[in-house]
Structures are given as structure tokens and as C-alpha cells.
Amino acid sequence: MTAPGKLSRREFLGVSAGGAAGLWLAVNLPPSAAEAAAPAGLSPDAWLRVEPSGVVTVFLAKSEMGQGTFTGMAVLVAEELEADWKSVRVVQADADAKRFGQMSTGGSRSVRGLFDPLRTAGAAAREMLVSAAAKRWKVDRATCRAEQGSVVHAPTGRRLGYGALATAAAREPVPRDPPLKDPSRWRLIGTRVPRLDGPDKVRGTARFGLDVRVPGLRFAAVARPPVVGGKVARFDAAKARAVAGVRHVVEVPSGVAVVADSTWAALQGREALAVTFEPGPNGALDSAALTKALAEAPPQKPARREGDVDAALAAAARRLEGTYELPLLAHATMEPMNATADVRRGRAELWLPTQAPTWAQADVAKALGLPLDRVKVHVTFLGGGFGRRAIPDFAVEAALVSRAVKAPVQVVWTREDDMRHDLYRPAARNELRAGLDAGGRLVAWHHRVRTPSISQQLFGTPQRWGDHPDVLESAIAFPYAAGAVQVEAAIPEVGVRVGWWRSVYASQNAFPEECFMDELAAAAGKDPLAFRLEHLPEGSRLRGALVLAAERAGWGKPLPAGRGRGLACHSSFGSHVAEVAEVSVVDGRVRVHRVVAAVDLGVALNPDSVEHQVEGAVVYGLSAALRGEITLAKGAVVQGNFDDYEPLRIDEVPEVEVHIVPSREAPGGIGEPGLPPIAPAVANAVFALTGKRIRRLPIGSLSGAA
């Protein structure tokens, strides 16, 4: 998720020699940056097929979890192919690392990583179709052009559809470097192409993980130890089996599974189990212990060091310090975790709402002791992902349950299961120090990030993706001119599972950074916007976004009584976002009325989708900022459902306006970058209104604020 995902622009194309008629084209990509060190061969990441019927099929190796990739990826192919959009179909690809490389969706990487490769695939196919038509007509190919699913011979007006040309085109050599269209000729990119998955999603016919139905399907609920490292102590299988519809009670490594004819029977059976657990080594962990672990972790060597921060601080006219804390957060996707598996006769077939199909496949194969080619993974629609579905724990568990009962099984997680067995956005403590000179200019910036490393927990090293720990993602890129800068990590090991949560460490690091900048502005006696602009390089894209957001929000203009305005900006995942929040406080509760966002993401593949993602990121981030908090007691997560972990509801959300900076730069990500600025923008607005600084999230009731 935090992988930079910088894919080389060099792509290699190859035509499949498969027996089927029609034109197949594979896009070969270098592996993602995470795997770049391995001397692996080049592996394809997406396929397109032009059928003799004229239908263009785009095989989607990304997971659709709401972000619009289903439509966006097809647009990239269709644009260069000059396909008739109405003839384009998207088929979700099964897990297949040989064909597609490591399939994973996250880090706002889909458009960024596939913008060139998918357009190139479409362009290559287009060139081959044009060549095939020129040969058929025995004319100079320069007199032919592709348009709307046909090749046209301009001098005579003759026209052949792609379907009629597809099989002949497959015999043409694949152009190594097909020309890409000038952006001025784009017909689809940059337009509001309607979502292809929209109709199914309003008719109840889109198939999510929980909607998978296969012959003989059983339903299962698993009683899992509530504490990481806990073990099942006792359970009463006979009582569970006595529930009508219950078929099996089996122990698997993750807990005790009750398998039944219906979900309800499985849940009733699980109730009847009366299972008890040994808590294990983390049984005493609670939120206070976690806070202590954060505060006590030894700092590492600075990962960024420019100048001498201590000397600059000593010489500063004014010194400030601030400590900012963030809680654990659950993902709480609307569709709880689930997986459907059929493991019989030495084969496994799974249907998964997953962000990581090939990872799931590999983990399932390992758990079952099967070769990869005996494990088939189909990807369904995801009822939300936000990073939770990048981890395949739910897949492995379902495979083991299915194997144990020799039947296809859908393991259903209840909301409580989902919330108490998440991989949480880590809790964090940020210690900041900064100095101002006599003119109120920043001369020293020191940010110490204290938080667990997701990469450490999952892969045994915090430096999975580069030379700095994952926890410093975005903090290390502190964008303001500050004279001396020092950024370092302190990474505790904790007995709670941590994972990637929408915008990952940018969600944690933007809050202290942008709140502390606000405090510094106030200390310098300067307007928060002016103070930031004073320290952002001229011409920087973040600066451009900030200026646009401020202008559209009417920064500096009077507000009605009882309203306050705050701003924040942050770059993450290749995009630059500024947000201005307008708030009021009633009975100690913060209400956000309006959010104006400006985003520079380079080329906006689909402006509607960009707006939608930013709107969504703002609401997701606001739910967390205002009241999102997971706490621990006796090693277990306290919250269980939407009563004690309650996202914002329709009557609590602001109007969100999204402005896109026009740009021809290569596209950045958009699923995540709208999130990091919202918490600090709101916190800064609360200060503007009340004079109270928010240094701990969630904001909750203001009576507790400093």
C-alpha cells in the first residue's frame, strides 16, 4: 500500500499464441517496485481481447471496491484502441501471477501504475488492426485510420469493423512502441464516463463476496480468540450440533467453526458453543499500556536530516513543542469480511472480495499444502476495502474450514467479528519541535513519529519499500522550507494487529504536521494560509492546490457568527490536496458544515470519479477525526458494532466541493489523498473558532481538549 508503485515506462507487448480466434494482447509490466529487486522475468498485468464479434474485453486485474477502477481501466484501453465504448466489456481476472504479476489493489496505484501500460496495450492493438485492414485492402497503411471500433480507408471511405479484422490482426507483428494519442485527441480520458458497475449496484445484482452461491454451499461462523495470540480453551460441540441446521463443529487454527445450512443456524450454533479462551501473552494489554509502549519506544537514527536541528532550535527566537496522538482505527467496510471456499479432492476454489488475489492464492496454497495451480481464486466485487481486504487472513481460514468439512463453505464474519479481528490503523504519538526566527520564519522542524510498523509486523522489516521505515511515509517529505529538518521513527512492537487503512501513514502524519504548522503560524502572528505560502516553494503543486482551495472557500472573508474556518494541505500517493473546513461547535460537539477541497492529481482520468473519491475520503476521514476510536481492554477490542464505532450519518456530513487543478502531468492516485488533510483542517478550524488546540484524535467532546 505504501509502495511507491513507480512503474517503468518501458513496457513489452506480446501476442498470445492461444488457439482462440481473435486478437489477444498482454501488457507486460516490470513487477511493482516492491518486487523490483528480484531478477524476475517480465510479467503481464492486464489483457485485452478483441473478439471476432467486435466485442472488446478488458481483463481487469484490479479489484473494484468502489474506487471506479472497473470503469477507469477499461477507459485507458479503449481510448487508444479507438474502441466503440458500447462494445467494451470488463471481465474480472482470476488470481494469476504468471499472467498478471502480483495482483494487488491499494496505495492508490491503479491509474498511476497502469496509465501508460494499458494505453500502450490499446495502441498496439489499434496499430495491428490498422495493419490488417491495409493488407486486406492492399493500400498504404498510412491512408487508414482507426475510429469508433472500425478501421477506415480515408480516400475511399471503406470501413471494416474490429471484429472482422481481429483474427487477421493477431498475425501482425506487435509494435514495440506504438504511438500514443496526443491528449488533445482524447475522447474518453478526462470525461465523465458513467460507471459500468452502476446499474448492477442499484438493482441488487452486483455480486459481492457474501452473495456467492454455489451448489451445496454451507455457511459458517468462527469463534475466534479475542486477544492476539490467544487460544481456544473449551467449547461444547454437542450443544452447537443440537441447533437445527448445524452440520459440523470443527477446530481450525483461527478458532472453532460451526458449519450449517444457513448463516443464521451457524450463528446460533456458535452462540451455543459456549466457547472460552486462554488469553495468552497479550491478555493484559489495554489502551494505557499501548500508549506507554508508544511513548517508550527508542528512537531510531533520523531518516531525514538537513542541517542541525538542535543548534537551529537553540538559536531560534521562538521555540514550540507539541505532542499529537491518534487512536487505533477499524476499517469497518460495509460488507463484513467473508470468504467462500471449496476445498475437495486436492483442489481449492475460492471466491473472495479481496484486494490481494495472488497473495490470498499463495497463502491458501501454503496452508493447504497444494501447488499454486491447484488453487483457483475468483475475485468478486468488494463491499469496501480501505486496505482491510489487502490482507488474506479471511481466505485462509475459509479454505481450512472447507477442507475440514469436505464441502463448499462461506465463512461469514459478523460486524462484531469484523471489528474485533481487524488489522487496525496503528495508534500513534507524534512529538514535534520547531523554531521561528525573529521574523516569524521557520528555521527548525523536528518530527518524531512513534507508531508500530505495519511492514515490520507483516514482513519482518519496517523498510520493505525503501530506505526509510514505512511509518515515516509522507512525514519524511515535509514540504515546507524550514532550514534544519529532522524526521525519525520510534517503532514499538505491540500485541495488536496493524494494517493499511485508507491513506495509511499519511493519515497519521498529516495531522500533527498540519496542526503544528497552524500553531506555528499563530505563534508567528501570521495568517495560517500566508504562513504556509511563505514556506512552500513557488510553483509547487501543493502550493497551487492550497491557493485554489483557499480562493474557492473564500479564505479571509467573513463568516457567520459561530463559524470557524481551518485549512490543511498534504501530498500523498502522487497527488496534492488542500482542504478548507468550516465548523461550528454546539454543546461541545464539532459540526463540519462545508469542506472545499482542491486537488492536483495530474491528468484526471474521470473528473466525476475524482470528485467522488475526494468526497468519500473526506467523509471517511471525518468519521475518524470526530469520533473514530478503537480501544483495548484485557487484550481485546472493546468496540463491536456501529453503536460504539459509529461512522458519520447523512445528517452529519458537510457539503463537499471538489476543485481539480487542470493538469497534463502524469496521473497521481486519488483513492486516498483526499483523506489526510481533513482531520487537521477541522482541528485548525476548531482553533480558529474556539481558541482550543486539538492535539488528540478523535476530537470527540471539546470539554476534554487542551
Binding site: 474506487q67 460495509m334 460488507e335 469496501g384
Partner: protein, 153 residues
């Protein structure tokens, strides 16, 4: 176990289920109508909303025996061709992202428009506040309800 007759989307179904089974699971697991979603099991999120005799009901809380003999409408039965004004407005306004909550949102909105063909923002807040959306499509839901009711876009 008991045999119950359920009238779902205009069709009569005879099912053999434990009579306390929430309607949600009978719809999904017994009748295969998976358009109605499981979200929380506690009537806190609205993903499982269906119409029972025209009223929006959380099907995760309604025992099947209490639904017997009453008219149940799910997202699959809201309109014959999936072209209820709300469904059309949802498409035109590009409301869904992940889409998981949208069946429940649409059914809740359908019940609202039945009673109140031209709801105000406050009416929409009151009717829709039980339906959660984690993708944050609330602004578009509001606009789509207005559009479907012929109100402001």
C-alpha cells in the same frame, strides 16, 4: 422448524425454516435473493432494509414468522426492469461507489417517497439517517432523492 408462506416481490414462497430466523437470512440463504445485504445484524446500518407492507423494515431484526403473509419487497422487486425513479436517479447521479449499502439506501428512500413525494432536506435526514455508507456517498444520495422526487437537482 416450521413451514411458512412468504410473499416476496409478488411471488408466494413456501419455506421450511426456524420461525425465529430473521427475514434477512431467509431472503439471502433460502430464497437466494442476495440483493438485500447483511451489514450489522443489529438494525444499526440499514443495509438489510426491505419493504414490508410498504414500510421500510430492517430485515435482520424481523423474525420470518412475523413476515409471513405480509407483502415483502426487496431491491430485486422494486421495479420490473430496475428502472424505479430512484434507481434511475441513482445511476444519473453516479451515486454508488462500492455499492454494498445502496440496496438498503434505495429501499429506505422508496419508503420515504411513498409517504412524502417531495421531501425536504430535513425529511431526507430523518428518513435516511439509519442507513450508513462508508464510501461517503451521502451527498449524492440526497441529490438523487431530490431528483427522483422531481425536486431540486
Amino acid at each position: 422448524m416450521a413451514r411458512l408462506t412468504l410473499l416476496v416481490n409478488g411471488r408466494s414462497h413456501s419455506v421450511e425454516v426456524a420461525p425465529e430466523t430473521p427475514l434477512l437470512w431467509v431472503l439471502r440463504d433460502t430464497l437466494g435473493l442476495t440483493g438485500t445485504k447483511f451489514g450489522c445484524g443489529q438494525a444499526l446500518c440499514g443495509a438489510c432494509t426491505v419493504l414490508v407492507d410498504g414500510e421500510a423494515v430492517r430485515s435482520c431484526q424481523l423474525p420470518a414468522r412475523e413476515a409471513a403473509g405480509r407483502r415483502v419487497t426487496t431491491i430485486e422487486g422494486l421495479s420490473p426492469e430496475g428502472d424505479h425513479p430512484l434507481q434511475k436517479a441513482w445511476i444519473a447521479g453516479e451515486v454508488p461507489q462500492c455499492g454494498y449499502c445502496q440496496s438498503g439506501q434505495i429501499m429506505q428512500a422508496a419508503a420515504l417517497l411513498e409517504k412524502n413525494p417531495h421531501p425536504s432536506d430535513a425529511d431526507i435526514d430523518e428518513a435516511m439517517r439509519g442507513n450508513l455508507c462508508r464510501c461517503g456517498t451521502y451527498g449524492r444520495i440526497r441529490r438523487a432523492i431530490h431528483a427522483a422526487s422531481g425536486g431540486r437537482p
